[in-house]
C-alpha cells in the first residue's frame, strides 16, 4: 500500500487488522487509566485494559491464560479496586489536581522509557513465530504438569503467599 510522501506500508492481513484494533483499544484504555481525573472512570478504563490484554492472549493462542485473566483481573482485582474506591469515596470530590508535584518529571521519564523500549523492540531482529500451537486440552494439561513438576516450588510458594495475603488482608481491614 502506497501512502503519500512515498511511505511504503504493508497491507495488514485480516488477523493483523483485528489485532491492531484490539491493541489500540487496550492502549487507549491504558492511557485513560492514568490521565482520567475521575478515579472511578480510571477503574473502568482499567477493566477495559484487562479485557484488551485478554484479547491479546487470544491472539497469542493462550486461551487458558485469556480466561484466567478475565477471571482474576476483571472478576476479582478490578472489582476489589472499585470496591475500595466506593469505600473511600470522599476522595472523589474537592481535590484540585489528581497529580502530585513530580508529575512533570514522571511524565518525561515515562516517555523516555517508552521511547527506549520502542527502540529496542524495533531494532532487535526477532525470530519469526515458532511452530504451530495446537490449542487443545493437551496444552492445559501440560501446563498443569509443569506446575507440579518443574515449577512445584514456585507454585507452592504462591499458594502460601495467597494464604498469607488473605489472612493479612482480613487482619488489616478488620474493624477494631
Amino acid at each position: 500500500m502506497q501512502l503519500p510522501l512515498g511511505i511504503e506500508v504493508p497491507i495488514p492481513t485480516f488477523e493483523q487488522f483485528v489485532f491492531i484494533q484490539v491493541a489500540l483499544l487496550t492502549a487507549v484504555a491504558g492511557l485513560a487509566v492514568v490521565i482520567s481525573r475521575n478515579l472511578f472512570h480510571s477503574a473502568l478504563a482499567l477493566t477495559l485494559t484487562f479485557f484488551g490484554v485478554a484479547g491479546v492472549y487470544v491472539f497469542l493462542e493462550a486461551e487458558f491464560l485469556a480466561v484466567s485473566q478475565v477471571l482474576v483481573y476483571v472478576g476479582a482485582i478490578a472489582m476489589l479496586i472499585a470496591f475500595a474506591i466506593m469505600l473511600t469515596r470522599s476522595m472523589m470530590y474537592g481535590r484540585t489536581s489528581p497529580l502530585n508535584n513530580q508529575w512533570g518529571k514522571s511524565s518525561l521519564f515515562a516517555f523516555l522509557f517508552f521511547i527506549g523500549l520502542l527502540a529496542f523492540a524495533r531494532a532487535t531482529p526477532w525470530p519469526a513465530a515458532g511452530e504451530e500451537v495446537v490449542a487443545d486440552e493437551a496444552l492445559i494439561g501440560a501446563l498443569g504438569r509443569e506446575f507440579v513438576t518443574t515449577y512445584v516450588i514456585a507454585f507452592e510458594v504462591l499458594g502460601l503467599l495467597l494464604l498469607l495475603a488473605l489472612v493479612g488482608a482480613v487482619m488489616l481491614a478488620r474493624d477494631r
Partner: protein, 104 residues
Amino acid sequence: MVPLSWYLMLAAFLFSCGLYGALARRNAIAMLMGIELMLNAANINLVAFWRHGVGPMEDLTGQAFAVLIIGLAAAEAAVGLALIIAVYRERRTIDVDELDLLSG
C-alpha cells in the same frame, strides 16, 4: 501472523502508562492501578516470547510464569487495598502526599 515486535510495542506502551501512573498520581488507589498496568505489560511480553520462542508446545515456561504473576497480582491487590482502607480509616485520606508522618 502478528509479528512479535507489535506485541512488544503494545507492552512497552502499557508499561510506560503504568509507570507514569504509579509515579505521578496522588491517590494511593490510582498508584496501585498503575502497578497493575505494569504487571499486565510484563505478562504480555512473557506470553509473546513463549509463543514466538523455540517449541511453544514443549517449553511452557512463559505461560507458567504468566499464571504465577496473575496469582501474585491478586495477592498484591488484596494486601494493597486492605492497607489503603486501613489508612483511610485512620487518617480519613488516601492522598500519599499527606501521609507524611515519618518525614521530618
